[in-house]
């Protein structure tokens, strides 16, 4: 029966997808939303039963590969971690399904969209419930495919199609690391099933890989490779370039995939593999640094973005940095806690932005918004809830999950932890700034859009506002409700076997009794950030323009996302095409063909011509040839005998 959770969305996708033309919009919506609701109910019931009765089990559905020592099966591993993730995914996905009924109302091929959404949910659930690395990889790539389909859903838009391809390719670069990680695991552990991997870790600890000569400790290598996969999926610094472009897709897609579920798959994988990561110190250090760097980088860029959805996208990237940071400090509970809360308030923000854009009939540029406070009051209110949760104001969920991470950074007492602590705090300040900037620019002051759009502005219909309200409750409530279970002293029992923390990694435990100033510093910075944001955009509206002119190069630098995108395009895309053309014209045409077949046949043809001229037609040439032949053979015989 538990297998129904992933399979229900799959059936929905198949039913709707295969009969896409004949099935009407309404029926498609009904089928997908119904199947999702049923799946969510089962997932919640499962989550409750796992947390309470602590029933950890693995259900094998069907054998996939069995080749001598290499045994991999389609299986579901049910434990707290996967139950929680399944619950979150199902919840958010159902809400998005319902929301898109309203948002995508007039779309030409709505059934196709709903089918893709359900397909995505199936792949995500398969990933989350995976019992071995291979099935996780199946879900991993499936989710990448679904995001490619959904981003490129409006394929008549050239930019959407390109963004889809970009997303898939960058994910694929991440998967390159993941696959190599899988191969390395199999080479070392001779199995891909998690339980067996964790059991055999002690044997493998001492072994090493020799790649191109220099030696690298096996477990660290595997961790780094798996982390590369996580980087690709969770858009960490270096492989984050696809996230902003992914905003080309419809907003429900951004909400579901690029906020709540897919991007967190990387974090989930790291937590799932905690049993392995705990044994590699330098891998954890690298993860922490990268997480912190991403958090700061994304926050700085978000401050200068003008597109509403891009701001939220960068904020997601920044929050992901925090989660990865938490994993690096082996505070897996905090990471999962932040993941859950972030899923709620980020989905809320996205959907609210979606209804805003829906209201402005597709306008996404904040400079053309403003003055909507009166017209769409409910969205405005919900927007406030989202912004405050994001910034980390106490009663809202953001505060609990983000601050525990910052405290854990401090109490880890390592240089890396300290570095992370500083960056995290800077990030908090910037997060507060850009969230308030976003709020003010889109809702306050006078409307900056033309009359025609004004007539269409309307409050979100109920089918969109109900999911928003539910998410708002989640954003508010999830913080203090789940604090005890996820990170509090009850977390040991709560997580059970699914998260493994080395005994000397006590960052999370000490976090509760961190010094007072460490606890209050993030709150202070958040309030400061909000104030600064209001100062710049609400009161002295000309200040940002002057600041931008004053720090002209810095402003350009941030607008261009630190020129990373341009760098990649130059470094990889252009050089790949140039090398390809060189290899094709130069390689195939000129060298291999010229020296190979064509060259050989040309020489043969030329020789043929030469020999033909040898046949001069004069008898004395022929006689001369005969005589020389005889003389040569004779000489050969004579010399042999001397």
């Amino acid at each position: 029966m538990l297998a129904a959770i992933p399979l229900l969305p799959l059936f929905a996708a198949l039913i709707v997808g295969l009969s896409s033309r004949r099935i009407g919009d309404a029926l498609a919506l009904f089928v997908t939303c119904l199947f999702m609701l049923v799946a969510t109910v089962i997932a919640l019931q499962l989550c409750f039963s796992v947390v309470v009765q602590d029933t950890e089990k693995t259900i094998v559905l069907a054998p996939w590969f069995s080749l001598g020592s290499f045994e991999v099966a389609w299986a579901m591993r049910i434990d707290t971690l996967s139950a929680v993730m399944m619950a979150v995914v199902c919840l958010v996905s159902t809400l998005v399904h319902i929301y898109s009924a309203g948002y995508m109302r007039g779309d030409a091929s709505l059934p196709r969209f709903m089918a893709y959404l359900s397909l995505f949910t199936f792949f995500m659930l398969a990933l989350v419930s995976a019992d071995n690395l291979l099935q996780m990889f199946f879900g991993w790539e499936g989710v990448g495919l679904a995001s490619y389909l959904l981003i490129g859903y409006w394929h008549h838009k050239e930019s959407a199609a390109r963004a889809g391809v970009k997303a898939f390719l960058v994910n694929r670069i991440g998967d390159f690391g993941f696959v190599l990680g899988i191969c390395a695991t199999y080479a070392m552990f001779d199995t891909l099933v998690f339980s067996e991997i964790f059991a055999r870790v002690p044997e493998v600890l001492g072994r090493e890989f020799s790649v191109f000569g220099w030696k690298i400790e096996a477990v660290t290598a595997i961790c780094l490779l798996l982390f590369a996969g996580a980087m690709g999926k969770s858009a960490q610094l270096g492989l984050h370039i696809w996230l902003p472009d992914a905003m080309e897709g419809p907003t429900p897609v951004s909400a579901l995939i690029h906020a709540a579920t897919m991007v967190t798959a990387g974090v989930f994988m790291l937590c799932r593999m905690s049993g392995l990561f705990e044994y590699s110190e330098d891998a954890l250090a690298i993860i922490t640094c990268l997480g912190a760097a991403t958090a700061l980088f994304a926050a700085t860029v978000a401050v200068v973005q003008n597109d509403l959805k891009r701001v939220i996208a960068y904020s997601t990237c920044s929050q992901l940095g925090y989660m990865i940071l938490a994993v690096g400090l082996s505070a897996y509970g905090a990471a999962m806690f932040h993941l859950t809360t972030h899923a709620f308030f980020k989905a809320l923000l996205f959907l609210a932005a979606g209804s805003l854009i829906h209201a402005l009939s597709g306008e996404q540029d904040m400079r053309k918004m403003g003055g909507l406070r009166a017209m769409v009051p409910l969205t405005y209110l919900l927007f406030w809830v989202g912004v405050l949760a994001l910034a980390g104001i106490p009663i809202l969920s953001g505060f609990y999950s983000k601050d525990i991470i910052i405290e854990a950074a401090w109490t880890s007492h390592t240089i890396v932890g300290l570095f992370a602590f500083v960056l995290a705090n800077l990030g908090v300040f910037l997060t507060a700034c850009y969230s308030t900037r976003m709020l003010v620019m889109s809702f306050h002051h006078s409307p900056r859009f033309d009359e025609k759009v004004m007539t269409h502005v309307h409050e979100a219909p109920p089918v969109m506002s109900i999911p928003l309200l539910l998410l708002a409750c989640g954003a508010i409530g999830s913080g203090f409700l789940l604090k005890e279970m996820f990170v509090g002293n009850g977390s040991e029992a709560f997580w059970g076997g699914s998260l493994f923390v080395e005994d000397y990694h006590t960052a999370l435990l000490d976090a509760h009794h961190a010094p007072r100033w460490v606890k209050s510093l993030p709150l202070f910075l958040a309030v400061l950030g909000i104030a600064f944001g209001l100062l710049c955009y609400q009161i002295f509206t000309t200040l940002p323009a002057r600041l931008a002119r004053f720090f002209r190069p810095l402003y350009r630098f941030l607008c261009e996302q630190w020129y990373i995108d341009a760098l990649y395009r130059l470094l990889f895309v252009k050089s790949a095409f140039a090398l390809a053309r060189l290899l094709w014209q130069g390689g195939d045409m000129k060298t291999i063909d010229a020296f190979g077949p064509d060259g050989f046949s040309a020489v043969v043809r030329w020789l043929g011509g030469r020999f033909r001229l040898l046949q001069s037609g004069y008898v004395y040439h022929y006689v001369f040839a005969v005589v020389t032949g005889v003389v040569l053979l004779g000489a050969f015989a004579v010399i042999r005998n001397l």
Binding site: V604, R612, Y622, V623, A625, V626, L633
Partner: protein, 502 residues
């Protein structure tokens, strides 16, 4: 009385019957009226040849053939001693003679349609032509069963003279007379070389029959004169089979001479020369094998490469056949260079298959008419698959087999040659053989391309029903030989075993 006859038959029977029949036909030709004398003489001679071949094959089973124990009557021993010094009919000679007789019969059959064409019939369509061909066949049969240098020389002379005459037979055509003249001059040179070689051999050995030469070269270190004599003799025969340094005459003579003669030259003459070479190498010079093996290897290498390369630019079909024949001779010489019984068996196997293929090719060449006129241009075949699908299919089967591609007998021929080359570690020669066969595969497949991929030429037709039957027969033979090549292998096996006296 019957004993003497049997003794006669089992030594030179075929040649005697052939000689007498030729003389009778000559007389008959004179007496018959002008118009139909040529046709009648030709049919009679074809009948004669086939009958002789059948008689030979039948006489195989006769016990006397195998153990040669004749009764001891004085008359029989006289006859036996008289002939046995110079000629012997053993399994090898029988294999050679049957092959020669059948090929000549086929050549005469396919030649008829060409000879009767009005463009050439005035000079070619005469009974003397058939008589000269028969005398050439007689010469060849003598060569094949020669046991002494003198017999070899006389047989070779008889065959060569007849071929010079055949080549120049078309009196009113300059190209034919030039071909004849060139063939004569170079042929005479080669006979002179042969003679001088034989004189040196006679000088060093003191006798002219192969057995004593072989025993002389066995005893003690063989003298230089013997080796130089051998070299000269071998180069004379290399001229006859047109191996490379001595091949210069082949393209010009093949292009100039009338097509029916070229068919005869390319098939029967080659068989006789190769049989002679094998008999000489094995019966006379086998102890000297480490002297002539490198020579033959060099000839093989040169022939294969030059033959393969020079055939590429050819567009005249007869010149094409000449050069491709040189390539095939190169591959055959690999078989000779192995100097082992299996190698020689492979040569005989290859030779018989090569003959069938060449006969099929000439059947088409002689039947080609471009707007009524006999044509030799290779590109006249273009689009044959549209105008004459069955003939096109048969010819492409032959071409694939010539190129040595697997589903056809040509492959097995090359298979055995390369197998024996590898067995007697001539791997480098086999490698050159591979390169040569790839290049040769190109120009054979080009013919198939011309027939199947190019646009058809309306005015090109294949006339001559008998040519068509020979073509289909050759194509079927090539396919059948793939399915069951073992009987031909056994025949060559026995022929070679006798030669090596195993």
């Amino acid at each position: 009385m019957s004993e003497v006859l049997a003794a006669l038959w089992f030594s030179l029977g075929v040649e005697l019957v052939l000689a007498c029949a030729t003389l009778l036909l000559l007389l008959l030709g004179l007496l018959l009226p002008e118009r139909n004398s040529a046709r009648l003489v030709c049919y009679l001679s074809i009948l004669l040849l086939v009958a002789l071949a059948a008689l030979l094959l039948w006489s195989r089973q006769d016990w006397r053939f195998s153990n040669e124990s004749f009764s001891s009557e004085p008359a029989v021993t006289a006859v036996a001693s008289l002939i046995d010094r110079h000629f012997r009919l053993d399994a090898f000679a029988l294999f050679g003679k049957v092959l020669i007789l059948l090929t000549t019969a086929c050549v005469l059959v396919i030649g008829q349609v060409f000879v009767r064409h009005e463009a050439v019939s005035k000079s070619l369509y005469r009974f003397e032509y058939v008589i000269v061909v028969l005398l050439a066949t007689l010469g060849m049969c003598l060569m094949v069963s020669a046991q002494s240098l003198l017999a070899l020389y006389v047989g070779l002379e008889l065959q060569s003279l007849a071929l010079y005459i055949c080549a120049a037979f078309q009196r009113d055509n300059l190209r034919s007379s030039e071909a004849g003249l060139k063939y004569f001059m170079l042929g005479a040179l080669s006979s002179a070389l042969l003679l001088f070689g034989c004189s040196l051999l006679y000088g060093s050995v003191g006798a002219i029959d192969f057995a004593s030469i072989s025993s002389a070269s066995l005893s003690g270190e063989s003298s230089l004169m013997l080796q130089v004599g051998m070299v000269l003799t071998l180069s004379a025969i290399a001229f006859k089979i047109s191996a490379v340094p001595f091949h210069m005459w082949t393209p010009d003579v093949y292009e100039g001479a009338p097509s029916s003669t070229v068919a005869f030259l390319a098939t029967a003459a080659k068989v006789a020369a190769l049989a002679l070479l094998m008999r000489l190498l094995v019966e006379a010079f086998l102890p000297l094998s480490e002297a002539w093996q490198p020579i033959l290897a060099l000839l093989a290498l040169a022939s294969m490469l030059l033959g393969a390369l020079a055939t590429l630019p050819q567009s005249n079909l007869k010149r094409f056949v000449a050069y491709s024949a040189i390539t095939h001779i190169g591959i055959l010489l690999i078989g000779f260079a192995t100097a082992t019984p299996e190698g020689m068996r492979a040569v005989l196997f290859y030779l018989s298959i090569y003959m069938t293929m060449t006969l099929g090719l000439f059947a088409v060449l002689l039947a080609m008419r471009n707007a009524g006129q006999p044509s030799e241009r290779l590109y006249d075949l273009s689009g044959l698959s549209h105008t004459d699908p069955k003939a096109a299919l048969a010819l492409s089967v032959l071409m694939f087999s010539m190129a040595g591609l697997p589903p056809f007998a040509g492959f097995f021929a090359k298979f055995y040659i390369f197998l024996e080359a590898l067995r007697s570690d001539l791997a480098w020669l086999a490698l050159c053989g591979v390169v040569a066969s790839v290049v040769s595969a190109f120009y054979y497949i080009r013919i198939v391309k011309v027939m199947y991929f190019d646009e058809p030429q309306e005015q090109v037709t294949l006339r001559g029903r008998s040519n068509r039957w020979i073509l289909y027969g050759a194509a079927v033979a090539v396919v059948v030989l793939t399915l069951s090549p073992s009987w031909l292998l056994q025949q060559s096996e026995q022929a070679v075993r006798v030669l090596f006296a195993l």
